[in-house]
Every structure is written in C-alpha cells, then in structure tokens.
C-alpha cells in the first residue's frame, strides 16, 4: 500500500462524508458543494481501502463507557463500500441540482449510515441511527409541497421513534448483560425484542413499513435515490449483526417478500411501486438473515450490495423522468423511450437486475439466498421466495418500465435527461452488469468465503430463465387483455390508514366532541353554574390559576398536603 494511504488507516470513512456534508451545508456556492459531494466519497473510499485489516479503531473514551466508532470487519466492510459507492454515484447524479439543503443532507445521511454500520457498540449505533433520521428528513422536506412536508414529518416521527426504541432497548440490554456491545442479541429478552422492533421499523417490517411507501414517493427526485439506498439496508445490517439465525425473521421476511407485490402492482405512483418493490427486496434479505447459515448470510449481504445499486438506479431513472416531465404517475406517463432512450436503457438494465436475469447483478445475489434456503431444507421459504422473486417481483419492475417508457405515449415534447444524471445512471447500470458478469468481485467482499459457489450452472440458469419467461409471459398476456396495468389515479389503502385515517379521524372526532362539549358547557350552564365554569377556566387556561402569577395560597395548601403525605409515610414506616 502506498504510504499516503497509510495515514488514512483506521480513520472512519464516515467522518469524511459527514465533514464534507457539514461543509456543503454551510457553503453558499454550488460548485463547491458539488465538488464536496464528489470529494467526500472519494476520501471515504480511500479510507476504506487504507484500512485493510479488520479491527476496532476510533475508540472514543467517554469515561464510563467507550464508543467504538470504527469496527471494521468482514460483515461491515461490504456495507460501507456500497454506501460510499452510492454516495459518489449520487454526487454525480445530483450535479445538475441546485439545492443547498439536499446536497449537505445527502452527504451527512451517507456518513451517518456508514458510521452506523461501523459502530461497535449500541450507543454509537444509536447516535448515527438518529443522525440518519435527522439528515434524511430534509431530502423529503426539500420537495416543497405541503404533502411532502407532512409526509416528511410522519417519516421523521417514525424514524426518531425507532431511535428511541433502540436507545431504550440498548439501555435495558446493557443493564441485563453489562455490555453495550453491538453483537448477537437474540429475542429471548425484552431488550432483544425492543431492539428487534427498533431495527424492524427501519427495515420495513410488515405493519411497520408504511413510512416507506408514504415518504419515498414524496421526496425530491435526487432525494429518493439516497433514501432508497441507506436507511433500510442499514437496518438489514443491524439485523444481521444482532439477530442472525433468528427463526422469526424468516416468517417476517417471507411476509415482507410477498405482500408488497400486490400493492406494487396497483399503486399508481411509480416511485411508490418501487418503494413496495424495495420492501419485497428487503424481505429477501431478512429471510437471508433469518436463515442464518453462511450461504444465506452471504446472500443477504450480496443482496444488500447489489440491491442498493439497482434500486438506486431505478429511482434515478424515475428521478430523471420526474425532472423532465414533472410527474411519475403511471396514468400520466408512457412512451418515453423514444425521447429518453438512454434513461430507458438504464431503466431496463435496472429492471433486469431487480428481476434477477442471469448476467445481471440481481441474479448472482438472489441465487445465494435461494441456495441458502435450499441448504437449510426450508421448502416453504424456498417456494415463497421463488414465487416472490422470479414470478412477481418481475411484474412490478416490468410495470414501472412499461408504464414509463412504453405503452401509450403521453409526453412527446421532453428532452433526454441532463448529461450528469445520465452519467450517474450509467455508472450504476455499469455496476449492475459488471457485478453480474464478474461475480467473483462481489463474492470476495462477502462476509464468509465462498470460493466453491458457482451461480452459473446450467440448471440454475435454465430454471431462472424459465421462471422469468413465465412471469414475462403472464405480464404480456395481462397487458394484451387490458387487465393490467390499472389505469386510474388512485390511492390504495395500506397500513398507514390506521394512523393517517383512523388515528386522525379519532383525533378529529375527539376534538369535535371536545368542542361540542365546551359548547354545551358554554350554553347549557345557567348563570349560577357559570361561576363555576369561570373558576374552572381560570384554573386551567394558560393564564389560569395553575400557571398564573398568584399561587401562594394554593401552594400553601400543597405544602400541607405534602407534609401530611410525608408524615403518614414516615409514621407508618417500620423500624429498620
């Protein structure tokens, strides 16, 4: 290794990204920010290369406990690498954009995600965990619309809640085991369940997933790219750290792999379709973590690696579409391939990768998890994953590509996406193809060595192609008979109905009832009782007795009550 790199040995890549992000946040000049968005990830990458030995670096001594900010081992390094890569690609992709808020936020978000992956203890993890929440929210707010603002607030609330759960779980965990270490945890204790829930919120567990299809479609075009990359994959990493081999995760993952498909098929917003497809992807990884054998864990890691890239690619193409046409609704798009051919090609490459076509990156990763399920003799999981992967997963990405770039043309007068966006997409698309072909490069990064595993075996390839053809055939038939895609602008209710409609409705009802009640009190009470009401009002309104300036009488009463309480307690205390 060159001597220059030796300096960076043991310096956490997260700091480069965060510092660059902070600088970018403060820099008023767009070129400086853009340069930072490219330089930051470059330095982070150098630091990644420079740290060639696994180990724990960057320990901050806080007296009572130690923060391990840089735990570099076989599991964390692959996640870090892909996070840095995507931060760089996003830097290229976002070159055209002039938005001070998102530039810095995206970098800090990336840095926080890297930092979280590299943290060796739960406290550090919590810190970066919350930082990802805080840094990513501006990416949604920056979209500007009131809808985006509300969605961003919901997103932030849920993410912060996840952090609070994490901290609480960590505290209980530490009190039970005496260790803050972020290692295998298990769900045997209350602390384990809390931590699992905290991770699960970010991983999009069923019924905890609603923030994902709610917020991602409302982010800015650039924002959704990074959003899709970090938060959920970070959660998968945390699950792999803490809950590898946890049987419950298999069931959870299978549900995650199956149920979003239906939503993805009917959602009109294409980015929402992708968000659901993302949950499906996460389901694969969660199953991989749950299976817990080396092959499956490798599969989860590989899936996370390639998943970050191809999902980002898909979001990038839709970002470009959004940039040019101003919409990503299926009902308002179509036939864009003619005017945006390069974007279209990139989208197709992305879709082929997602679907797992041989020679594309999705194939070499997904086959690992399938083999893992097979190896574990988990037939049900295997069958469901096959169903979810080749059959239907494909449908949803095919739908995205078909609705945006083919089908009935609706936008004739758009230009191809800006050069810089194309470059970003091309980089990602290249990686999708490259990793599918030179799969050894990917396998070498995996946590457990698998030199003997060969994805391109005849039966494997043949079976996969057959699956994909079958899926594509069904899709083509459905399109031919006008059964699909549904052409109407609509909202499909999901679990978020419970809090956005039911909760909101309950709050509204409560408020209305409260108002009615106040009204009833106001009108129904006669003059004699009105005095009492006035008293109540005086007591409880913001300038009322409970907070007003003249409470010494009330206070003396409290004193007497408290004296009585202490006297009673101390009088009846037994002698020690």
């Amino acid at each position: 290794m060159p001597d220059i790199l030796a300096v960076l040995n043991g310096v956490s890549p997260a700091w480069f990204l965060i510092v660059a992000g902070l600088l970018a946040w403060g820099a008023p000049w767009s070129p400086v920010r853009k340069a930072l968005m490219l330089i930051g990830p470059c330095f982070a990458l150098l630091a990644w290369f420079a740290t060639h030995e696994t180990g724990v670096y960057g320990v901050i001594d806080l007296g009572p406990f130690q923060l391990e900010t840089f735990r570099f081992d076989s599991l964390s390094r692959i996640w870090v690498l892909v996070f840095i890569l995507i931060a760089f690609i996003n830097g290229v992709y976002a070159l055209h954009e002039r938005n001070r808020m998102t530039d810095g936020a995206a970098l800090i978000y990336a840095g926080a995600a890297v930092g979280a992956v590299l943290s060796g203890d739960l406290l550090t993890l919590f810190f970066f965990w919350e930082l990802t929440a805080l840094a990513s929210a501006p990416l949604i707010f920056a979209a500007g619309a009131p809808m985006a603002h509300r969605a961003g607030l919901r997103y932030l609330a849920i993410q912060v809640l996840s952090g609070v759960l994490l901290l609480a779980g960590a505290a209980v965990w530490a009190s039970q085991t005496g260790s803050w270490g972020c290692d295998a945890i298990g769900v045997d204790s209350a602390a384990g369940v809390m931590l699992l829930l905290a991770f699960g919120v970010k991983a999009g567990f069923p019924l905890l997933h609603m923030w994902l299809p709610d917020a991602y479609p409302k982010a800015t075009g650039v924002g959704s790219v990074v959003l899709s990359a970090f938060t959920t994959k970070l959660a998968v990493y945390a699950l792999a750290r803490g809950f590898a081999g946890e049987g419950a995760l298999i069931a959870i993952g299978l549900v995650m792999a199956v149920f979003p498909i239906v939503f993805a098929l009917v959602s009109n917003d294409l980015r929402q379709t992708l968000a659901y497809a993302l949950i499906n992807q996460l389901g694969f990884m969660v199953v991989g973590v749950g299976l817990g054998n080396e092959l499956a864990l490798n599969g989860a890691a590989a899936n996370a690696f390639v998943g970050v890239i191809y999902m980002a690619l898909m979001f990038m193409t839709l970002g470009a579409v959004l940039h040019r046409t101003g919409t990503v609704k299926a009902t308002e798009l179509g036939g864009l391939f003619k005017s945006m051919p390069v974007t279209g090609v990139c989208a197709i490459i992305g879709a082929l990768s997602v679907a797992g076509v041989p020679l594309f990156s999705g194939f070499v990763a997904k086959t690992l998890i399938l083999s893992g399920a097979h190896y574990a003799h988990n037939d049900l999981a295997y069958a469901i994953l096959v169903y979810a992967s080749a059959g239907v997963m494909e449908l949803s990405v095919l739908k995205v590509v078909y609705c945006a770039f083919f089908g009935e043309a609706r936008h004739h007068q758009v230009r191809e996406a800006p050069q810089t966006m194309l470059l970003g997409m091309a980089l990602a698309a290249f990686l999708c193809v490259y990793l599918g072909v030179d799969y050894r490069a990917l396998y070498e990064l995996l946590p457990f060595g698998i030199d003997d595993y060969e994805p391109y075996k005849l039966n494997n390839v043949f079976g996969q192609v057959q699956l994909l053809l079958g899926g594509a055939f069904v899709f083509a038939l459905a399109v031919g008979f006008k059964l699909f895609p549904l052409k109407s602008d609509h909202t499909i209710l999901d679990a978020d109905w419970f809090y956005r409609r039911l909760g909101d409705g309950a709050a509204r009802w409560g408020k209305a009832m409260g108002e009615l009640l106040v009204h009833a009190i106001n009108t129904a009470l006669t003059a004699g009782v009105a005095r009492l009401r006035a008293r109540l009002f005086n007591l409880f309104n913001p300038a009322g007795a409970l907070s007003r300036e003249f409470p010494s009488g009330l206070m003396a009463l409290w004193t007497a009550i408290m004296l009585a309480a202490v006297l009673l307690v101390s009088y009846f205390s037994p002698m020690s």
């Binding site: 009322g544 003249f550 009330l554």
Partner: protein, 134 residues
C-alpha cells in the same frame, strides 16, 4: 388527665396557632392578611422553641458570679435551657425582616396594580395576557 393536658397545653396552642396561620395564608386573598397569617405561623414556631426550652421546675439559667472562681453553677438547681431562646431571637429577627420585605412588596404591588386582593391582581394579569394573545 388534667395533668396530661396541662403538660401539653403549650403544644396544643402551638398547633392551633400554626394551623390558624397556615389557614390564613391559604384562605385569604388579601395580601396583607396573608402576611399576617404568615407572621402567626412563624410565631407559633417561636413558641415551640421556647416551650422546648422550658424545663419543669427549672429556674432561669442565670448563674451567680463569684470572684476568683468565675461563674458558679449550682449542681442542685435545675436550669431551663437557654439555647432555644437565643436561637429564637435570631428567628424573630429573620421573621421581622421577611415581614418588612413582604410589606414593602405589597406597597409596590398596590402602586402597580391598584389592588391588594389576589383575584383582582390575577384578573389584571389575565387581561394583560389576553391582550398580548396566547
């Protein structure tokens, strides 16, 4: 029975005074009366200390002064405890100071609000707060 009551008569009075004083602070809206209640309350404490000091059958702790040998304490005589008296002198001073500051404040409040009833003052403050808007 009588003896028991007589023995504890002081304490009964102290408790009654204490309650009267505290009740006055709680119940009255008039600031001066509130201070009066406070004074009664404090006075009960002075009584408490002095009652502690009283030793039944004790004489005032005033010692004979004999030349050459200094003070002479007669071991046969029971003295009352002088210390609480001394302490309570300090407490009285403190109480007077508090009362003085309190009365001065009431004067200022009267100048500022034109009232010394707490509900009138609270209403004035409330109106002021309403004017500014919550």
């Amino acid at each position: 029975m009588i003896e028991i009551v007589a023995e504890r008569f002081n304490y009964a009075v102290i408790i009654i005074l204490m309650m009267v004083g505290l009740y006055a602070v709680i119940a009255t809206g008039n600031l001066i009366k509130r201070l009066v209640g406070l004074s009664i309350f404090q006075t009960s404490v002075f009584l408490l200390y002095i009652s502690i000091a009283k030793v039944f059958g004790g004489v005032p702790p005033i010692f004979d002064y004999k030349e050459l040998v200094g003070y002479k304490i007669d071991p046969e005589v029971v003295y009352s405890n002088p210390l609480p008296h001394v302490l309570i002198l300090t407490a009285i001073v403190v109480g007077v100071a508090t009362l003085a500051v309190g009365l001065a404040l009431v004067v200022r409040i009267r100048e500022a609000y034109g009232a010394i009833e707490d509900h009138a003052i609270a209403e004035a403050d409330y109106a002021f707060e309403l004017e500014k808007g919550f």
